[in-house]
Amino acid sequence: MTREVLRFALRGLAANKLRSGLTTLGILIGVGAVIMLVAVGNGSSQQVQKNIERLGTNTLTVMPSTAGGRGGAGGLARLFGGGGAGGRSQQTGPRAQAKSLTVEDARSLADAANVPSVKSVSPVVTSSSVNATYEGTAHAIQQFVGTYPAYFEASNDPVARGTYFTDDDVLNGRKVAVIGNTVAEDLFGTVDPLGRQITVSGVNFTVVGVLKTKGSSGFQDADDVAIAPLPAVQQSLTGYGALNQIVVQAKSPKVVDTAQAEVTDVLNQRHDISGSNTADFQILNQASLQSAISSSSRTFTVLLGAVAAISLLVGGIGITNIMLVTVTERTREIGIRKAIGAPKSAILGQFLVEATVLSLLGGLLGVAAGVVGSQFTVLGVRPVIVPSSIALALGVSVAIGLFFGSYPANRAAKLRPIEALRHE
């Protein structure tokens, strides 16, 4: 009899194709929206994650805590345009005597005895909008970074062509540089930049490598960069003053927090920070930044999903509405069926199946629409479908059919045959 009930339900739906179609559309839009918006949220969160990964892994960035001073520095600045975008800060209020970060600070952090969790330390100076020329072609390099070779690994800046500079280059203060892709293209065009010299404030730097493309994020071009040995940059651009930041790489993701504590201890000691004094440096922890941002992007995804879920709910109410109309319209038919011996369960089943078929059909079409829609880039975000959202949306659509169909179906099943038959 189950098969008969199913057939009756399908026949009922087929009898009102336009109405069934429109009801299905309501669910289709709801399910499609859930899948697509969750995919957009997921895509944007993955994009942000990728941006953060570009900063390097297991990395702590120590910066002087005069926030926004010295023109944004290093990896973070290249991504977020101006430093201090989240992460953990240890700075509040004024302090007695602020000391700037020095190469000695960096050296003390390299002492394995005090900071066992640290893998490498790179002191960093940066100079922004540095004019560089090559045979008459000029280009303003957004970030000119002076550092140690360990920086490449810590900040996740691999070389695509050529080589990194070496510790030897640093010790000897050689004027060599690794340039970003944008710089290479602007200055050299089709010419191979390796081995050529670019002139920066009257000093010639030999290009030894070109960095792998990172792509732009926000309004900053992560590839508009040049990295050279620290002494060379200090000599020609920044002078031998304070460092802009110290990039510290922890030994593993697990010990990032430990490393942060160790670094804080060492620097507190060196900068005479204790008790009432506020630290004159801040440490950005990539991991905590990442978790902060991923939790906020999760909120974003949930919000999008919730908006979509509301449209799914509206679609569900549409089902209730149309099923109520159907039941009213077919009251007489229900009466006939009951008079010839249809049990309550068969009537209930018929209308439940009708509602569920509507919502399941809408759900399936909605999945198709959501998947197709997710192939397009939405507002600069490439949606990434979350497989579980498909299963969830489908499951919810079936549940909606059962839930929102149960009221009208119950009403049909409960009709007394004698009253149903009198209905005109």
């Binding site: 009899m1 069926r337 008079a339 011996g341 249809a342 007394r416 004698i418």
Partner: protein
Amino acid sequence: MTVLDVQDVTKVYGDGDTAVHALRGVRLAVDEGDYVAIMGASGSGKSTLMNILGCLDVPTGGRYLLDGLDVGALDDRRLAILRNRRIGFVFQSFNLIPRMSALANVELPLAYGGVKAAERRRRALAALEQVGLADRVDHEPNELSGGQQQRVAVARALVTAPALLLADEPTGNLDTRSTADVLGVLDRLSADGRTIVLITHENDVARRAKRVIRLVDGRIVEDRRTAPVGRPAIRSGGDELRADDR
């Protein structure tokens, strides 16, 4: 054997001052093979009685036994089964389900009775054959004349081989020719030994029955047998004589 046994059945609609006493104690027993016509003016309670007999409505008081089974003691599910297996209902307004072929309409009670598809089809075709509509099985109700629709309804009523065939003014909406068609079918069924209870207000229709019951104000005022149970009903004077001869 007694198919129907109605014992002091009353039916009251509403309560207090506005209460309407549709049935005021009806006592009626119908034997197997009988053909009973219930007559009465509108408001006499004949439709109410019919609905109670068809298990579509429950009496306010009294007992109703169908095939020896006390209907009042049954729950919804069992009542549905009872309607499905023991009772065939023919309505004044046909009450076929639209957009379903004649065959599908006739198969419907069997479908609810859980009969397998092949068997269902066979029995439905046989029932349609019996009412002379073997050539119209694939027509939908709106493609059939009133008389044909009513014959489909009769086929649907008898396809489950019920103990009792109830007809509520089956010819009320039909022209003379269709009326003759439908009554002819009922006559044949009666001749085959089927128990039939029919409501009518037309004497022509009632004359074909073997027993005529007249209801006034919810009470039986006349219960007249015109032919013995198990014998063909009296059709005319000539028939009457022949029936007496037997």
